[in-house]
Symmetry: C2
Subunit: 320 residues, 2 copies
């Protein structure tokens, strides 16, 4: 690791916000020092409670997160927010809305907000988000909030890291079948029908409740459906109470530990494949494989044949 980034880690662990910001940038840029950064901060992680906030665009997620921050701060808790937009190439808090939000909390040392966009692969974005969460965790945040825009596969991957997932919907979000499709019904721990003064809010919340009464959760958690109007502060305290209840429920049932173990296992295999991928592409640039690669490109041999050749050379053991 470069001495500079090592310095940043030390300074970040001492509470230096600029160092934290630099490290997040290193994560965004998939710096070569990442493995060393993660190793160095690892002993300081595992203390933050991670909240995921997802739902369709325009559901009012950002406003809701802002109101939650105020409640966390009232209790003296520190909070880090990472807002992820896989469809946006913009990063580093460059999104207009986030600039405005950052200004509102700019003088508050207990709040840190950053945006991540998609520079490269979506798999990379999901990994980067998880590493930003680690940085916040090591920095000493009590709560880390991950806010994602959209409802695609990348967002579902990102949400895996959360201890409690809030799904924010609005009456016009569309019918229940659409939600099912997006996988939101399966991942949400707390459902929020925002902009509850609009027509259809009661119907939507009844639909969600009905679905959970037909398919109750295996872990015994009674999924709450909360009607809110975040712009007017209505319902936000109830969300905070339910987050605490869900945390307690998981601690009592020992499921938080099991969940985090599953997450760590999944993260390991993700990193393993990322590292392997990188090593493989390096290998393919070796002169050794020039001939195989050229035959594949010309269509002389099929890719499975080539894979056999390459793997038998890379791996110590012969294939199973």
């Amino acid at each position: 690791m470069g001495d500079k980034e090592l310095d940043f880690v030390e300074r970040m662990l001492e509470g230096d916000r600029i160092a934290l910001s630099r490290l997040i940038t290193a994560v965004e840029n998939r710096s070569r020092s990442l493995p060393d950064i993660v190793k160095r901060i690892h002993p300081h992680t595992g203390r933050s409670y991670i909240i995921g906030v997802t739902g369709p665009p325009g559901a009012g997620k950002s406003t809701l997160v802002d109101k939650l921050i105020v409640l966390f701060r009232k209790e003296g808790k520190k909070v880090g927010v990472v807002a992820v937009d896989p469809s946006s190439p913009f990063t580093g808090g460059a999104i207009l809305g986030d600039r405005i939000r950052m200004q509102a909390h700019a003088l508050d040392e207990g709040v840190f907000i950053r945006s991540l966009g998609s520079r490269g692969s979506h798999g990379g974005l999901s990994r980067a988000t998880k590493e930003v969460v680690r940085l916040y965790d090591a920095f000493g945040m009590d709560y880390v909030v991950i806010e994602t825009v959209g409802v695609g596969q990348t967002e579902l991957d990102i949400m895996e890291v959360a201890d409690t997932i809030l799904v924010v919907l609005v009456p016009e979000s569309g019918d229940s079948v659409q939600m099912m499709k997006a996988g939101l019904m399966e991942i949400g721990d707390i459902f929020i029908v925002n902009k509850a003064d609009r027509e259809g809010a009661q119907r939507l919340s009844a639909e969600i409740r009905a679905m959970f009464s037909i398919n109750p959760r295996e872990d015994g958690w009674q999924t709450p459906v909360i009607l809110t109007h975040a712009g007017e502060d209505r319902g936000v305290e109830e969300i905070f109470e339910q987050i605490k209840s869900h945390r307690l429920h998981q601690l009592e049932g020992n499921s938080l530990k099991a969940k985090r173990e599953r997450k760590r296992e999944k993260e390991l295999s993700g990193i393993l494949s990322e590292v392997l991928q990188k090593r493989i592409s390096e290998k393919l640039e070796d002169r050794e494989f020039e001939k195989v690669l050229s035959s594949v490109k010309k269509g002389e041999i099929d890719p499975y044949e080539a894979v056999d050749i390459i793997l038998s050379r890379i791996f110590q053991a012969t294939k199973k």
Copy 2:
């Protein structure tokens, strides 16, 4: 390979449609015989011209493809269609719309239509689609049409295999910024504004033209924007003509060869990582790694440390 699937390959190569259908099912189910099937059919591939058709839901892609099939058949060309819907778990032509379409061409030996949905990972769906294309190719199809529903990352991955990509839009598809975001502007070779009698069709086509006059393509291809009304056959012949022009343009500039070489290289690294992934997860189940895995799950060691340990044991050579 099972004797049965080997039989299917031989029968398929002799023109047996039922054998082709069985092999597509084997691809869908990610059969263990896949590498052998691909190896066996490889010498018979590389002749089909592959057309990708993409665009937002409801743009009329299926109707357009149906009309194109009629034109291909008029010239005596054989055509295979694979319709991919990543959001659907339904497969094997089980989608109602496709059943209807299949009936229309059911008695035509020169047409074969199948649907693929997402059973497992989206990466798997993209790989499966490419292998169905190979099967059609080996079966002797002159044209293979890949039709995707939606505009996400999976669809973009799938489109990589196409020689010519048609992007189908309708006036209500939304503004140009939205298109840019979805990456459609970058991948399309021919743009089609369907349902051209609707308001905004002229404006949309002018917008697309304007974008390409600002950012002309590096390969010199003049991207056509065609106004159509597929339901009434209007503009479909022009699409066919433009497909032929684009094919010729690529043949003359030698870019088709280069494109296919890039595709083969990309496919190789995809298969390589799929095979590696599988081998790694098998390895992780070995007793050898039990202790490392358990330490990671408990959070005792960080994932990068674990990756170092695992890879140093798996790989012959020490790390670079």
